[in-house]
């Protein structure tokens, strides 16, 4: 965070999720033979740090990030993992980097990327990430997005910025069958969650802790 010159010393309160009021673990919707069609879990407490390359600095920024994080910034429509960090392509000269820590990733990026022309913006609290897996995930997502999610068109590590139930999201196709991370705006998290639940109800879905 930011602008504080040194990292805070006091113990931080636990981070709240915008879904705290509505998320009750359990099985919902139609009872499906062989388990729920979709399992959803919240990926809370992550660092999501946006990294932009300033004009003409993309190459030096890639090198700097590769050096500091051991990660090659991916090209359009792709994600890449390196060490503990996952990078998603967000737009021209823009990536989202994710790690399971609180401030460390941002600090690392500021140190490594800013001198190389990177612009670092912490978005950790602004985005809510849901992980969806299960046999019906593609069908559920297809109810809300016009992006082709067929493996031929959207393979592992594919990333799309798109609309999902009319909300701007990032879809990150993870390794493993039918696993997607859905990043949405915090303020719309509950609406997105409700839409996903409704869409998944016919297949049965599980909210896991």
């Amino acid at each position: 965070m930011a602008d504080a010159t040194s990292l805070p010393q006091a113990p931080l309160p636990p981070r709240r999720s915008p879904l705290d009021a509505v998320w009750v673990a359990g099985d919902y919707g139609a009872a499906a033979v062989g388990g729920p069609g979709v399992t959803m879990l919240r990926r809370s407490g992550l660092s999501s740090v946006q990294l932009d390359a300033r004009r003409g600095t993309a190459a030096s920024l890639r090198a700097a990030v590769a050096g500091a994080l051991g990660l090659a910034l991916p090209g359009p429509g792709r994600a890449a993992s390196g060490g503990e960090v996952r990078a998603l392509w967000l737009g021209p000269d823009r990536w989202m980097l994710l790690a399971e820590d609180t401030f460390a990733l941002e600090a690392k990026l500021r140190a490594a990327a800013e001198p190389a022309g990177g612009v670092v913006v912490d978005q950790s609290h602004g985005r809510t990430i849901l992980r969806l897996s299960g046999p019906a995930v593609r069908e559920v997502l297809a109810k809300g997005t016009g992006v082709d999610l067929h493996p031929r068109a959207f393979a592992e590590d594919a990333v799309a910025q798109t609309g999902l139930f009319h909300l701007a999201v990032t879809l990150d196709r993870r390794r493993g069958t039918g696993t997607f991370d859905v990043h949405g705006m915090r303020g719309f998290a509950q609406s997105l969650f409700e839409s996903l639940c409704e869409a998944a109800a016919e297949f049965g879905y599980r909210l896991s802790e």
Partner: protein, 1010 residues
Amino acid sequence: MTGSDQSHRLPTGGAIDRRRPLAFRFDGREYRGYAGDTLASALLANGVRVVGRSFKYHRPRGVLTAGPEEPNALVELRGGARIEPNTRATMVELFHGLEATSQNRWPSLRFDALEVNDLLSRFLVAGFYYKTFMGFPGWHFWEQRIRAAAGMGRGTTEPDPDGYETMNAHCDVLVVGGGPAGLAAALAAGRTGARVMLLEETDGLGGRLRSDRETLNGTPAMRWAEAAAFELVDLPEVTVLTRTTGFGIYDGNVVGAVERVADHLPVPPAHMVRQRLWHIRPRRVIVAAGAIERPLVFGGNDRPGVMQAGAVRTYLNRYAVAPGRQAVVVANNDDGYRTALDLAAAGIHVAQVVDTRSAGRGEWWRRAVDAGLDVVDRAAVTNAYGRMGLVGCDVTRLDGNGGTAGNGRFVPCDLIASSGGWTPSIHLHSHAGGKAEWDDAIAAFVPGPGRAGVTTIGAAAGRFALSDCLADGFRVGAEAARDCGFGSGTAPDAPVADEASVAPLQAIWSVPGTPGRKVKRFVDHQDDVTVEDIELAHREGFVSVEHLKRYTTLGMGTDQGKTSNTAGHALMAGLRGRPIPAVGTTTFRPPYTPVAMGAFAGRAAGRHLAPIRRTALHDWHAANGVVFVEAGPWLRPQYYLRPGETNSREAMDRAITEEVVATRTRVGISDVSSLGKIDVQGPDAAEFLNRVYCNGFARLPVGKARYGLMLREDGLVDDDGTTSRLADTHFLMTTTTVHAAEVLADLEWYLQVVWPELDVRVSSVTEQWAGMALAGPRARDVLAAALDPGTADVSNEALPFLGVTTTATVRGVPVRIFRISFSGELGYEVNAPADWGIDVWEALMHAGEPHGIRPYGLEAMGIMRIEKGHVAGAELDGRTTPDDLGLGRMASTAKWYVGRGMLGKPAYTDPDRPKLVGLVPVDGRTRIRAGAILVADPDAPTPIPKLGHVTSSAYLSPTVGHPISLALLARGRERIGEEVWAVFPTRSQRIRARVTEPCFVDPEGEKLHG
């Protein structure tokens, strides 16, 4: 009408499940049918002949067709909140307990008072209403009666209890239509591994093979269709959707389709939607939508018992229903013979086979004659009799010149199977901008040149022979897959159809009447358009197909002219002496068949019409007595009730007043998270802001905030907000809640398109930060107490007005503090990372407890900003200049910025323009509401000249003790101290108002700086 014991069910045959009888009701009477029936087939099986009444003349009508083109057999299906008016009985799958009611009749189907229209029909010709009803008592009087007589089924005023949803799909090859051509295409494409989707409107695949007795290599063709269906289901990349209508092709060849998920069930089971709307994005579209049979146009051709020949075969073969006991078949093509042979095979007496052609004696004729049928050619049915059901018809020789030869012979019958040829369903081709070309051989339009990627095949392309349909399908399916990179494009071998050769059709667009009898010859059954109506339209000059349609209502019914347009247009062409293609056809628009509004709306219903945006502090508000209000997508606190208090006007007024008083006298806190926050970074950031704001930002010091005003390119005010310099090349811009998205898009526009040379990156951080405005004389004390010791100095010296600090923490949470104020009080805006927003808010509340802190909502905020004369949405209405708002001095003359080029327009500098002022009631107590108009003389004759209007108002300013308002008033600044009238005629109010400065509280800003 015979009994309810399926009197007309054939003893054997059909694709119905005789082990599953289903009870249903029509007009309150109980009947039985079988699983696999449609409502139409089940009614026919029970000998029900009259099913509905026509639109205009209320003539009794029976089932005409067996498909989506049905113009007559329309019913109200189900009831109550689930009522579906105008439902085609031919498309309703029978289910147990089905309820249907006939419509457009009163008091009953059998005795309909408005059948008087049929007697008056000579007055009620096409367009009669344009020529009358102009005088006393006026149109409105007549309109009430006409409206009641018109319409068809009844809608409901109850909300629909069922759900709908949208589904997106992608594929290589989409095939629309699951008949022989479509099946072949899907097979050929699917076998290559391409992603294939096949849409079929009915409940099963096979198309006309389900209705006809055709064979392939000597075995029933339906067997081939069943095998094809099994193979398709096994192909992993093939999706078959039955009960799904491809209703339209849109741009980019995106196909809209509606899947009737639960319409064949009494009610949708839990978690199941009623219908699902598909957006399919195929790389290739193959349209195999088949063809629709045309009725022959002869006298009384609408009598219950007159039926399309193809439909008769469907009822016989697929549903094992005898649509009559004694049949006459009349046709201008070989389908008459085919139908007659099927009737005979089903044991139904064929009284007469009538061929209107002079040259129809081909192989099918021979078969009919060989079967011992009584065939007459060069003749026609000239009139049909039987009001509530056909009793017979006249069969008359034709003279070959459009007239009759000799007198008609009466033939008793209760069924006439009629065929006027087939019209290819070129709707989807036409949706995609494809042209139509006239084909004389089949007397119909066929697809001409069309859009790339869309191919129409089989009967939809005018190729009716089964062998042609299969060949088309296999060839085009394989080619489409190849175009998408799958397979070689070589068509699989097609099975061989056992087909008789077909004698050519001879078009006959209307049959002359029986000599000496008045007849009504219906071209459009549903809207009661007759041959005479078309002649009248021609006489009056309504000769283009568009005029014809609009004047006579030809093709305007729920069937959209599927059975009537070709004949109607051909008749007009004949009257005009022009070839049919020169007269043309109307353009088809989606939907192909009517689609429920709910299906289009999908899940965007009720609460889900639009997503709801909640602030990071939402859960706290919800737990602490808030009343939320919709503010665009956001839910924001409007005001807070006391614990346990119920909401009421009084509670609201008291809450708002308390919130204002607390903030003005002690301290208040409000959620401002929804304000747009944009992170602006880069070496050129200051220059960039200098260009987008009308006031200067280049020299804003680090650690300072400034109020900025943004104009549109047309010089009018767009948005405002404070922007802070966090570091030399790093700014944080704030925007109004409503314009946040737009402003970001504009900034991106300027950086990407207009000034790409500027090295600046912008991103929204609205969601990252929870925003809290802490305001009031005790705000500093509260803030200081809440901060973790030693993390920031918020004294007036260290953090003066417009100061910014980013070092502070609260409960360990790093926060940004901006000393800015919307309320005019000593104020701070505290931004905290959203996941800790509630923790920081609670820390501030806790620190504020000793000072009597109150959370305040939008209402209190609104009152306080009006007290300060700060502009907001009602003043920033897209029509005001900076000067109008008293902000003219902000517009720099030292630099160029967006909008400056327009500011010199004469109208913008007109001294008479309305300017921002304050208003108070002269009586000291009457509220001057927003929306009141300011005038000099409320008693002037209309139109009364207007001086301006009231933009915002506070019913009571607790601070000044009386109501206050803001207004835009012509020459307002010169009128300060004067009085004007504020009138509110829609509430019959006029209030004497004194014009004041717009700022009512602390005009010097001492509180702000204190």
